[in-house]
C-alpha cells in the first residue's frame, strides 16, 4: 500500500520566505563551537594564512547551518514541557521552516543524511539568512514496507546574499 499521496507530492517546490538568523556570527559562539568540535584552526580567531585568504576571522564551514535558534521573545519549549517526563528535549524542527506535510505527520522520522556544498566561510559579524524548499518527495519499497524519502534543500546566504553553503537533507518517514 502506498504511503505517498498526491496531497503529499503537492508540497514539492514549496519554499520558505528568507529567514534571518537571530544573531550575527559571534566571536564567542564561534569559539565555543570550535572548541566543541576540537578544531583549533587559527582562522577561527583571525590569524594565520587562512584568515588572510578568507578576509579575516571566520566560522567553521558547517557553522551557518546551526545559527537558526530560538530568538528573544519566542516561546520556550523547554519550560513549557519541563514537567513532561516523556519530552525528549529535541524541540528542533526538521522542516527547516517549511510547513509539515500533513499526510506524513503521523509517521516516524529518521535523519537519512545530508549533502553539503560549500562556497565560502561566514565571517565574524556577518548576518546569515536561510531559504529552504521541498526539493523532492518519493516513495521507496523496503523489506520492512514502504518509506517516504523527503528531500529538503536549504541555501545559507551571507550579508551580501552570497551563497555560503547549500545543504540537501534527507528525511526518512516510515
Amino acid at each position: 500500500m502506498s504511503i505517498l499521496t498526491e496531497a503529499a507530492k503537492a508540497y514539492i517546490g514549496t519554499e520558505t520566505e528568507i529567514e534571518i538568523a537571530c544573531d550575527v556570527v559571534e566571536r564567542g559562539a564561534v569559539r565555543r563551537y570550535a572548541q566543541a568540535i576540537m578544531d583549533d584552526d587559527p582562522a577561527y580567531h583571525g590569524e594565520g594564512p587562512g584568515a588572510e585568504r578568507y578576509g579575516g576571522a571566520v566560522a567553521p564551514l558547517i557553522f551557518p547551518t546551526h545559527m537558526f535558534r530560538r530568538p528573544f521573545g519566542a516561546p520556550d519549549p523547554l519550560q513549557e514541557k519541563a514537567s513532561d517526563t516523556d519530552f525528549d528535549g529535541s524541540g528542533i524542527s526538521t522542516t527547516q521552516g517549511l510547513p509539515e506535510i500533513e499526510s506524513l505527520k503521523h509517521l516516524a522520522i529518521l535523519n537519512g543524511g545530508s549533502s553539503i556544498e560549500f562556497r565560502r566561510y561566514a565571517r565574524h559579524g556577518e548576518t546569515v539568512k536561510l531559504k529552504s524548499r521541498y526539493a523532492d518527495i518519493v516513495e521507496k519499497e523496503t523489506s520492512k514496507g514502504p518509506i517516504a524519502l523527503v528531500y529538503i534543500d536549504s541555501d545559507y546566504l551571507g550579508s551580501d546574499d552570497e551563497l555560503l553553503c547549500r545543504v540537501r537533507r534527507t528525511y526518512i518517514r516510515r
Binding site: 566543541a36 584552526d41 525528549d88 535523519n111 537519512g112 560549500f118
Partner: protein, 156 residues
Amino acid sequence: MICYEDVEIGYELPRLAKGPLTNMHLMRWSAAMENWHRIHYDEKFATQHDKLPALLVSGSQKQQFIAQLLKDWVAPHGWVWKVDFQFRSMNYVGETLSSWARVTAKRETPGFGLVDLDVGILNQDGKESTPGKATVALPYRGKSPVPYPFVPPASA
C-alpha cells in the same frame, strides 16, 4: 601546500581521531549548538526511556570531524567543495572516532583540479558509521590558489 599533481588515486589521508568521547564532550557539543535532545547528555533518559545502550554521539558532531579532516588537508589554497554523509549506524559515549578519506578519482578543470574521495568514520573496533563521498578542489602546481569564494566549474 598540497597540489593537484601531488595526489594519487588510492591515497588515504592521515586519519583524524577524536576521543574517547566522554559525556563532557557530548554535553559541550549540545551546548555549543543549543541542541537539548536528551539522548546526547541525559543517560537515564537515553537508556531507560529511549532504550539506547548509552548516550548517543550526535550526527551533526560527526559531520564536523569529516569536514575538518578535508579542510585541514586542502587549506588554505584548496577548497572543500562537496561532502555527502549518510548516518548508517550509531556511535556511543566512550567511543573513539577516526575520520578517514581515500582518493577515488581526479579530473582537471580550467583553473584547478578536482579530487573525489570516499569518506567515513570508524570507531575503535573498526566499525563504519558515517560513509560518504566528497569532492575537493586543489590548485595546480605553480599556479594560483583555488578561487575564493569558490565558484564550481561549469562542467563537473
